[in-house]
């Protein structure tokens, strides 16, 4: 029976980790490869102080 709470905690931790970042979190940093139209700033942290809209899309 003692193992049940432990399993519950593990399951909850696993769910949280698999969901990744959430609204309300501070965004983690990421380094971008070459940015077309870039100005030398290569990581998300360098845009601190400005709102950022990220848009993921595909050519095809």
């Amino acid at each position: 029976m003692r193992i049940l709470p432990l399993l519950a905690i593990l399951a909850l931790t696993s769910t949280v980790l698999s969901q990744g970042p959430a609204v309300g979190d501070k965004v983690a940093d990421v380094t971008f490869p070459t940015l077309i139209n870039g100005d030398g700033r290569q990581s998300l942290a360098e845009f601190y102080g400005q709102p950022v809209v990220i848009d993921q899309w595909g050519i095809h």
């Binding site: 030398g40 990220i54 050519i59």
Partner: protein, 255 residues
């Protein structure tokens, strides 16, 4: 994506950063060719092949809005959430303009730094604060911002964007006006555009910008001819390399 390009065009000058991330694994050359053919008016930061630290999605398009302080404010389908995105952009741009933070001093410093681009004025306010965490944090922000602005000039030159680099150098001088040592360094950056070589590169870049305008006006044929003519006899330089890359993008077929 078109809405993101519109956001960039409308709000970039007020401080919005728009980053377009192609997520189907296409290479940079294909991406550049696609953009010039399909969205020639795109001025947003654009890249391919990077995982993003934003709430995950089940597909694309997918977008996220990050606030001025790095908080993830929203994530989802940009088409379904366009009204919310607009609201959040307006909310955060207001913070850029008026500043934000826990104290009146933080707000004043950030309003000058991010809203007015007045690096020297912001630093003067920081130096008037008592020693402590807040002062250290704000000082770091001012230094990072000034470093970024200086770095941008070198980076734009490296990309062959001399006209934009020159504009940034002029802006840097204005941003440093109230502080003698920073102003002297900024003026040196600007003075680098006075050499004969720099003037020639500026002139060539202005011509390329005219060609880019033709592309935005959907006059592709004229653009290719114009670029080929510009490159004839042009000495090797970052600006010439930019013209060649643009010509290459226009000739690349995107399936």
């Amino acid at each position: 994506m078109p809405s993101a390009i519109r956001h960039d065009r409308e709000f970039k000058d007020q401080g919005l950063v728009t980053i377009l991330v192609e997520s189907q694994g296409n290479d940079e050359r294909t991406l550049a060719a696609f953009l010039w053919k399909t969205f020639p008016d795109n001025g947003a930061f654009t890249c391919t092949g990077v995982g993003l630290p934003i709430p995950p999605s089940r597909g694309i398009p997918h977008a996220a809005v990050i606030g001025v302080d790095g908080t993830i404010l929203w994530a989802g389908n940009p088409n379904a959430g366009s009204k919310r995105i607009d609201e959040l952009i307006a909310q955060e741009l207001e913070k850029v303009k008026k500043g934000w933070g826990d104290t009146a001093e933080s707000k004043k410093v950030r309003a000058l730094l991010y809203g007015k681009h007045d690096f020297a004025g912001a630093m003067a306010l920081v130096e008037a604060l008592n020693d402590g965490d807040e002062r250290a944090m704000l000082q770091k922000e001012v230094e990072v911002r000034r470093d970024s602005a200086t770095k941008a000039i070198a980076e734009l030159k490296r990309q062959g964007r001399y006209v934009r680099a020159h504009e940034r150098a002029e802006q840097l001088v204005k941003s440093c006006e109230k502080r003698a040592d920073w102003l002297a360094a900024a003026k040196q950056e600007l003075a680098a555009f006075d050499s004969d070589e720099a003037k020639a590169l500026l002139a060539l870049d202005k011509k390329i910008e005219k060609v880019e305008k033709q592309l935005r006006d959907k006059k592709d044929e004229n653009a290719q001819k114009g670029l080929a003519a510009l490159l004839k006899g042009a000495p090797e330089s970052a600006v010439a390399a930019r013209a060649r890359a643009l010509l290459d993008a226009l000739k690349t077929k995107v399936e």
